[in-house]
């Protein structure tokens, strides 16, 4: 009735295998911190903690590794907010030597939690002072990108109407039902766009503007992906709405990552004064790291032209170093706003919760 079986013999073997695997992995995952005290011929390991969107060319990292006999290990730790939370919670016994990717909307959280050591890099000389938001030089600017309105060019040509040029334009009847924006509570470009309206209209009046947007049938979704791929008409998702909040680099993406080669982008960004919000990303040396000297070298490297020139094609944001040359293919398709809406990191930190709550109560009810 009951057959004999071999089943139980297999797991015993597997158990041994997995236990061995477990032990091996446990022991191999720890020695990074001890590797630095070994002989100089062994490469030093430097760990860089960053967010999901980080990217860099193989050759660029290899250049650094060869020059300093180092091995760079990257840890990607979720979106910007999550990665920063992880860095804060591992303060004292940090996961990494360097943290890259905190932006001006989160900068105060990082500085208040005191996770960075100051470092006065000589390369700051080549960087416009406007980017240096932390005077104590704990967080050093690396790149910036602008959150701007994007629109589908052909829609406005076909309809014979002008694309919007200002935030106020979006309240006009001819743009009724055309705009999709992200929820600032859940989306980083959404938050940036809320700051745009605060910077442009002021703390006291931005909510009235939002009431106007809602009356003009603006759609609010939770994430950039839904806004861009489900609702925006010029994306591959072919949604119904021709205006979306995205980045000023998005039109360039649409050309470089087109399905069939395009001569010009199907979309354009609105970059007139006060319509965009600038996100600046920073790098900092984490307190309690094992290898301050190499960490400084890496920070210098990130600010130097070789890394800075690699940034645009890898992450579609722009270098802060004025010596860095922008790739021609890139400049061709994009415009950088000259005057962006501004809200200081201190003000953001002090009011983030209040603003988000007000916004939610006014716009989502």
């Amino acid at each position: 009735m009951i057959r004999n079986m071999v089943l139980l013999k297999i797991p015993t073997g597997m158990l041994v295998f997995f236990t061995a695997f477990f032990i091996a992995a446990c022991t191999s995952s720890t020695p990074d911190s001890t590797a630095e005290i070994s002989t100089p011929s062994e490469p030093y390991t430097l760990t860089v903690m960053t967010h999901d969107s980080f990217s860099v060319s193989e050759g660029v990292v290899a250049a650094f590794e060869n020059e300093y006999n180092a091995e760079i290990r990257f840890l990607k730790s979720g979106d910007t907010g999550t990665a920063l939370n992880k860095a804060i919670l591992s303060k004292g016994n940090p996961l990494a030597d360097v943290f890259y990717g905190v932006d001006n909307t989160f900068l105060s959280r990082a500085l208040d939690e005191d996770i960075f050591e100051p470092y006065d890099s000589p390369l700051l000389a080549d960087i416009d002072d406007g980017f240096e938001l932390d005077q104590q030089k704990r967080a050093l600017p690396v790149d910036y990108g602008d959150v701007c309105l994007n629109y589908e060019i052909s829609y406005f040509v076909d309809q014979g109407i002008e694309p919007p040029q200002t935030l106020e334009n979006l309240l006009e009847p001819m743009y009724k039902g055309l705009l999709v924006v992200q929820n600032p509570a859940t989306s980083s470009p959404g938050l940036a766009f809320m700051f745009t309206t605060i910077g442009h209209f002021g703390e006291d009046d931005y909510l009235d503007y939002w009431k106007g947007l809602v009356e003009n049938n603006a759609l609010i979704v939770n994430d950039w992906e839904t806004a861009y791929y489900t609702e925006f008409s010029a994306s591959a998702g072919r949604g119904p709405r021709p205006i979306v909040v995205s980045y000023n680099s998005s039109p360039a993406f649409e050309v470089i990552y087109a399905e069939t080669p395009l001569d010009e982008p199907p979309t354009a960004a609105v970059v007139s004064d006060g319509t965009c919000f600038r996100q600046i990303e920073f790098v900092g040396i984490l307190k309690g790291g094992q290898n301050r000297e190499l960490a400084e070298k890496w920070v210098d490297f990130m600010l130097s032209p070789i890394f800075q020139e690699d940034i645009p094609m890898q992450m579609f944001v722009f270098p802060v170093n004025s010596q860095a040359q922008l790739d021609n293919a890139f400049i061709e398709y994009l415009t950088i706003p000259t005057k962006t809406a501004f809200v200081s990191p201190e003000k953001i930190a002090a009011n983030r919760e209040k603003w988000l709550q007000e916004w939610t109560e006014t716009v989502l009810r």
């Binding site: 720890t30 840890l75 939370n85 919670l89 589908e152 939770n222 008409s233 994306s235 998702g237 087109a258």
Partner: protein, 586 residues
């Protein structure tokens, strides 16, 4: 020892056991599962909660008072319960007839049907949103069709950002749980019981309600419980498909943690969510102990019929169409889109295909920007399958002894206490637990913060409750007299397990393995927190692509999703082939 009624024999059995040292032997089965939960669940959860509350300004009770006094939190809690209950009811409504079909009939393509209906379970929400959008979106096939048919100017169906979208997506994701768990158990119920009732004059409906349903009750409430907890802790579906007007506790925890960094309030909400889960578990444990009866499970050879009459064929056809329509149509839309070239001019109509293409798949294999983080799709598949295999192994190795201990002695106080606790990881906020790992495993010998081992460990935490729950109903229903007979004849507990329990739960073991496998393949939240960029899983890669503009990036995300679907289906079919100890023959 002669027990007239099966129900009595449970009592006898447990007394028989408690009177001997075997009680302790059974408790020893808990050693590994509890050590695992202690180290990888309670320790990190305890650490993060402690750190979170240490950041409280003022009294320790402040965040609790803040949460309980907040109207927003009460509204979120109410909505969380409401949507979870409704979604669970709908999932049962769709799943139970399907389970009947899979349980009672033997037809060609059944394994494939089971695999196809399970694929949804692994897909990341962003991709599922894209799939639904291709069908029901403003320019999806359904809306475009209706607009042309009735000459409408506006799309008649509004899907994204509606409550219906949440319900439909939950049914889409979770029906497979009901199909598998109930379908498997049902297939072993002796059809002669129903036949006996009919001989005695009961009609079909009476037979179903008074005989079959009570027999199925333990497994139905088990499946319902798992579905409910999944819906209760729903995150991606609410965020992406429900939109900004809807929030569950899990969404609120994410918002408090990431956007506001209010860790004390986030921790309070996590505890609230856990408390709700725990209360459900306790109710469940009581209920299931009451409802379970030992049965003669029959091999499927005796319980399943071929589709011979036209009535049964029609019924089967209708059920298959319903299941495939609801659970695979969006997947087909998605896969089709990954092979479709779009018109370069964004015209009036959506998805006007100007031909078939393999461009997206080709693009996956090129590292166009020379990025350090480029990973080939084959590597991603290997990494995903590797984590999934480790998860299956770990979850079964830990879940089988736990389920066995629970089933053998369900009346012991110890088991009644432990049973709900095993399920806690399912009701736990992923955001909170993820941060818990960071603060708990921060020094040698357990500095696992950046270790790839954390991924199968985290997946096992989610898979373990599924494994235990898939196994216990079957293990409990084994007639104790069979085991007693073996013991009387001198079999050791291990031999009893090998020769009685294991063969009889062979199918349930496959169900459990399939759950562990699919949970690991599709997991995104925990993986994203821990992932080493050199070893991304397929869902992580899909996310990398879909979070960038550009038709090629979107296309690559869809192509990878299609690859993920194929890998899932292949894995599930392979597990079905894996015959444990000739289960069909016991």
């Amino acid at each position: 020892m002669a027990a007239g009624v099966d129900r009595d024999s449970v009592e006898v059995n447990s007394k028989f056991l408690t009177s001997s040292y075997k009680k302790y032997a059974l408790h020893a089965l808990w050693l590994a599962p509890l050590a695992f939960l202690g180290l990888f669940y309670f320790y990190p959860m305890g650490s993060i909660l402690e750190i979170s509350f240490s950041r409280t300004e003022g009294s320790q009770a402040a965040p609790f008072i803040q949460a309980l006094a907040s109207e927003r939190v009460r509204r979120v809690l109410g909505f969380t319960f409401f949507q979870a209950s409704l979604s669970t009811a709908l999932t049962l409504l769709v799943g139970l007839p399907g389970a009947y079909l899979l349980a009672r009939y033997d037809f060609r393509g059944k394994s494939l049907l089971r695999a196809l209906t399970g694929i949804a379970f692994v897909l990341p929400t962003l991709v599922v949103a894209a799939a639904f959008n291709a069908m029901l979106g403003p320019r999806g096939w359904v809306n475009v069709g209706l607009m042309e048919l009735f000459d409408l100017t506006q799309p008649p169906i509004q899907f994204i950002n509606t409550f219906s979208a949440i319900l439909i997506a939950h049914v889409f994701y979770n029906t497979t749980i009901v199909l598998r768990m109930v379908g498997d158990y049902w297939s072993h119920i002796d059809p002669r019981m129903g036949q006996a009732a009919q001989v005695l004059g009961a009609n079909r409906l009476q037979t179903l309600l008074r005989v079959i349903l009570p027999l199925l009750m333990p497994v139905i409430i088990t499946a319902a419980l798992l579905v409910f907890i999944f819906n209760f802790t729903s995150f991606g579906v609410i965020l992406v498909l429900g939109g900004p007007r809807f929030a569950t506790l899990e969404v609120e925890i994410f918002y408090q943690t990431v956007s506001l960094f209010n860790l004390p309030l986030a921790a309070t909400l996590s505890i609230l969510q856990l408390a709700c889960t725990l209360i459900l578990m306790v109710i469940y444990t009581r209920l299931s102990a009451k409802l379970t009866r030992p049965l003669s499970l029959r091999p499927r050879k005796f319980t399943q019929r071929k589709l011979t009459s036209w009535r049964s064929r029609l019924l089967a056809a209708l059920l298959v169409i319903m299941l495939l329509g609801m659970l695979t149509a969006p997947l087909i839309a998605l896969a089709a889109r990954s092979f479709t070239r779009l018109d370069p001019e964004p015209g009036q109509h959506a998805f006007f295909a100007s031909g078939l293409t393999l461009d997206f798949y080709k693009e996956l294999t090129t590292n166009r920007r020379g990025s350090l983080f480029y990973v080939s799709p084959l590597t991603a598949i290997a990494v995903s399958i590797g984590y999934a295999a480790a998860t299956v192994f770990l979850a079964l190795a830990l879940g089988l002894p736990a389920a066995w201990a629970l089933a053998r002695n369900s009346n012991s106080k110890f088991n009644r206490f432990i049973d709900p606790i095993i399920m806690l990881p399912l009701g736990t906020s992923a955001v909170t637990l993820g941060l818990g790992f960071i603060v708990a495993f921060n020094r040698p010998p357990l500095d696992l913060r950046a270790s790839i081992l954390l991924i199968p460990l985290a997946h096992t935490l989610v898979a373990l409750p599924f494994v235990v729950r898939s196994l216990t109903p079957s293990l409990r229903s084994i007639r104790p007299r069979l085991r007693q007979a073996a013991q009387v004849m001198g079999a050791s507990p291990m031999q009893v397990f090998r020769h009685i329990d294991l063969p009889m739960v062979g199918r349930a073991l496959l169900v459990a393995a399939t759950f562990a496998f699919t949970i690991s393949l599709g997991e995104f939240g925990a993986t994203a927190l821990i992932a080493r960029p050199e070893y991304p899983t397929i869902p992580i890669m899909i996310y990398r692509f879909i979070s960038q503009p550009g038709a090629l990036n979107y296309g690559q995300a869809l192509a990878l999703s299609t690859i993920l679907m194929a890998a899932t289906a292949a894995g599930m079919l392979a597990i079905e082939r894996f015959r444990i100890a000739d289960v069909g023959e016991f």
